[in-house]
Amino acid sequence: MNPFLGFIKKEIYHILRDRRSLLILLGMPIVQILLFGFAITNEIKNVEVAILDYSKDATTLEIINKISASPYFSINQLMMHEADIESVFQKGKVKAVISFEKDFGKNLIKDRHATVQIITDATDPNTANTISNYINSMVQSYLNEHNKTLTPTYQIIPQTRMVYNPELKSVYMFVPGVMTVILMLISAMMTSISITKEKELGTMEVLLVSPLKPLQVIAGKVVPYIFLSVFNAVIIIILGIFVFKMPIQGSLLLLGLESVLFIITSLTLGILISTISASQQTAMMASLMGLMLPTILLSGFIFPISSMPVILQVISNIIPAKWFIIIIKGILLKGVGISFIWKETLILIGMTLFFIAISVKKYKIRLE
């Protein structure tokens, strides 16, 4: 048998026989997707609100019914006193209090002006914002429906439509993100650990004093993980489509090719880490701290890059994941072709070549 193939065969044995790692490698993507999909969500559903209605007329009743009927809210209680607001929030269940002034309906007709107060629990500012916006628009739409002759005296609330993600479904955000993180984890961390393991065990010495060329050693380590990563990418996308009904607007072929590119980028990063790590532990730490964390925080996966301080925005440019997320979101959600993402693709290719060059330079053919 060809020496190179013999080496790959050994690598496959190692991977298959390390049951624990295998479990994590194959199970992790599934667990992550399911977690993100079902448990972590930015959407609001059945948010509990309390009503403080000083007016209690037909107008307020209609508005209250509208709120109650929507899937976003459920009425927790009808309050009597303003003083109770604080304790209601403290109990924790109610996220917003809607308070109608006395004679709300009459004032609306007589003065063309009525006040409704929306008090939200802003300990989670994102949700609070969303809640108040929703309530606001509900009140507005009531007005529009019932009193077309009245000109509203509030400021114009812009009609927003969330383009490409009208329901702001978070699955569109996290599937690309999870995929990026998993691919980077498997490719970079597992590769670097695999190479440093040989160093630690002393078998690297024997491999060096053999006809195997260093390039064959690296390639042999990398090939099985390419297959594993591709497999994981496929699983993630399948889960996204069938469990979370994520649509794929763009070409699957392009998606596949770009994914393989990113996998290779991550693998070369793994090789680079292994050239500077003497032990598996170092490799793992370097992968986690140097790759995972920046990838999760600065790639735009969870936190939008544009909201970050400028210095971090600049730094985010050197994180391969950032470019891949742009690419993958483009293909999945916007259905763009290569003509729109060629710039990012080129950047990824450039990064890969750069990492390969450094790894080759730093790869030690001796023990020092």
Partner: protein
């Protein structure tokens, strides 16, 4: 041919691991590099197997320079580094097959070379290497180093930590391999194994103390050694140390090896002294020096 080292020096972090090491291993010789941990044995091996570059000096393996011709050397020597370096999660057979494959050969091709050794572990061929005993790992590692029929074999501490029975068997195997024309460089911290080599180099703290055949080295021991025994070994040692004429006092198994500063002296005098120190059952006999005695004397 064979192996040569010429004024090899190597330092790490300011510590001199090897200082002006020179010796030669002839074709077909079984040569032992004898010394304790930290003497520099592994460094010598790594330089010869092209894994490290010496700071000074030259070395040749089979006529090839270890720095310039490293690629050719790596393809043709057999190397067994310390602690065996086997793949723990591969079976005996898989390990052997792997090493055969990366050297571009098969187990069948050179089987006759390893047969005697392999048959002893063949019953366990489907067992994972990690689950083998020390002696079996040793045999497997040797087979893996031999499978591509190298002309020169480098074995770095192959018997360390292995039980005495396996150690004895291992050396018997080495002797038989030598008869097949393979040049073997072995390192070991066990002084008794030195006697089994054709020639040895004693090494301590990065310096060579002596190079010669085991017999010749022992013959060069400068003093006469006396085996002394008494009823209480601890008190015997302490007493001998206070004797005043002692050159060396070392426990050696059930006896104490004593050498005197004087070239000739009266044994009865010593006996009387010891008696005066409240020791009894005193015996003093002359003995032949061993490699260990010689090593310790050279290392002082």
């Amino acid at each position: 041919m064979g192996i040569t080292l010429d004024n090899i020096s190597k330092s790490y972090n300011g510590i001199k691991a090897l200082e002006n090491i020179s010796f030669e291993v002839n074709d077909g010789e079984l040569f032992g590099l004898i010394g304790p941990d930290g003497a520099g044995k592994t460094t010598v091996f790594r330089i010869l197997t092209t894994l490290l570059i010496a700071d000074e000096g030259n070395a040749n393996v089979a006529g090839l320079d270890v720095v310039a011709d490293y690629k050719t050397i790596r393809q043709s020597v057999g190397y067994m580094p310390g602690k065996f370096s086997l793949y723990q999660d591969l079976t005996v057979e898989e390990n052997l097959k792997f090493f055969a494959t990366i050297f571009g050969t098969t187990i069948a091709e050179n089987y006759d070379l390893i047969k005697e050794i392999y048959v002893q572990i063949e019953p366990f061929k489907t067992r994972r290497a990690g689950k083998l005993s020390g002696g079996m790992k040793q045999k497997l590692a040797l087979c893996c180093a031999l499978i591509h029929k190298p002309k020169i074999l480098f074995l770095d501490e192959p018997t360390t930590g292995v039980d005495p029975v396996s150690r004895k068997e291992f050396w018997e195997m080495l002797k038989r391999l030598q008869q097949k024309g393979i040049t073997i460089l072995v390192s070991t911290p066990y002084m008794d194994e030195a006697a089994l080599c054709d020639r040895i180099a004693l090494i301590q703290n990065g310096k060579i103390l002596q190079i010669d055949t085991p017999d010749a080295i022992v013959k060069q021991y400068p003093k006469t050694i006396f085996c002394v025994n008494a009823n209480n070994k601890y008190q015997l040692i302490e007493a001998l140390k206070t004797y005043g004429h002692q050159h060396s006092v070392y426990p050696f198994g059930e006896f104490v090896h004593y050498t005197d500063q004087r070239n000739i002296f009266d044994v009865e005098d010593l006996k009387a002294f010891l008696k005066s120190q409240n020791l009894s059952k005193i015996t003093i006999e002359q003995v032949q020096p061993t490699i260990e005695d010689t090593f310790m004397e050279l290392a002082r």
